[in-house]
Homo-oligomer: 281 residues x 2
Amino acid sequence: MINKIAIVGVGLIGGSLALQCRKKGIAEKIIGVESNTNHAAQALSLHLVDEILSLDDAIKNADVIVLTVPMNVLVGLLPDILDKVKGQIVMDMGSTKSILSKAVDHHRNRGRFIATHPMWGTEYSGPAAAVEGAFENKAVILCDSEKSDSDVFEFAKKMYSMLNMRILEMNAVDHDLHAAYVSHISHITSFALANTVLEKEREDNAIFEMASAGFESTVRLAKSNPDMWTPILMQNKENVLDVLNEHISQLRKFKSCLEKDNWEYLKELMSNANQIRRIIQ
Amino acid sequence: MINKIAIVGVGLIGGSLALQCRKKGIAEKIIGVESNTNHAAQALSLHLVDEILSLDDAIKNADVIVLTVPMNVLVGLLPDILDKVKGQIVMDMGSTKSILSKAVDHHRNRGRFIATHPMWGTEYSGPAAAVEGAFENKAVILCDSEKSDSDVFEFAKKMYSMLNMRILEMNAVDHDLHAAYVSHISHITSFALANTVLEKEREDNAIFEMASAGFESTVRLAKSNPDMWTPILMQNKENVLDVLNEHISQLRKFKSCLEKDNWEYLKELMSNANQIRRIIQ
């Protein structure tokens, strides 16, 4: 579809995108930009990218530049990249949008940029975590697309269609609110559940021999990378706090039922939760 | 291995056990006992069981009687069944053990019973939820086995070995403590997370179009059956409350980090949670 794509940050997301770009014929050549030299070497040896270039060389050479670095790095990097583009398309795939959006809102090249968030990931990180067939059949959010030039918007839609993703559009503020509910809170509950159990483990190891699939399912996100998640939670602090407060108050309802032997209400809380079947099969 | 096994309660667990009994040659004939007439018909039409009998007829006919009914039913049923056995083996597969254990501790036929808890399940229920190849490679807890006659204990070990399960032994009190950590709390966090998000959904539907695999993973247990889970949480109330209090206090640490912009400590909490990798791959 295009000649050269540059992927800045060849980790789980960037590496998985690289694999799909090759498989789906999105770009003829895939350039990687990676400041971690071990990761750069891995990205080459795993054939995720065709070559590793410096950021400046990648910007000069590529038609499209996709940013898949942690959110704290991204917010600093994006304005600098927009300073340097002359017609190239710039896209991010990060998990928060409001702060990023504000950082480039008045940039003279704002139109060359589109903010996107594919709702896909795993609890692993680095180039070795890259997955074949990633993103397929998941949702992707395109944010504030009216601020992007029409060719930039059309490219993003085309690329994500080629990845078989379901395209949703919303503004950055709505995105961050919803992301807090469908992604960020799940990570916090998993991290906290892991800490709850690890706290107990000091006393007894038997619980781990018993760990079931249900436990594994609720706790697997606790393996996620803190370097990636700290800036996400920082940047979406207000929304995450709202959801976390709501979640703690929902947990307190369960607590109160147990304390007061209120089994009817406990059952009602669980029956209400069963309605989640409408959303996930 | 034996002639006739009776499975009392042919739902997710009982139905899955029936499938494995046939496949592994654990019993030549599989008798179902099922008070729900729809479920009884389904159990026959799905060929989970060879015949449906009344409980009394099943007790008379079977060599081994396995109880896979909800915990509240189980505690009432077990003493009655032990009243009627003459040498048969009785086994339960329930999720709590202390109250059940007390209910039959002084029964003259206590030796004919063994309390077991295979650490396997799904969020679905009823005979149609029965799964081929269930239980394999999971842990199973045999409780208070010194109170069981040796042939009863040996049968349980043999049966679970044939299911390729990892056999752990512990007393009922320890079992209930550990089960609170590796299973019961996961269900509460999932139910509460579902309610948190459903509460929000009244205002906006977009969040469900965005739901990702991570969200699905943390919330899937919220589809579990309240009729099964109410008695489990009732019977393990004290342990579950302890774990739930610890979990709420772990969540409050995340909350406090966000409120106070304490990003170093937030990262430390997540890094600590990463240690869960030692337990789940």
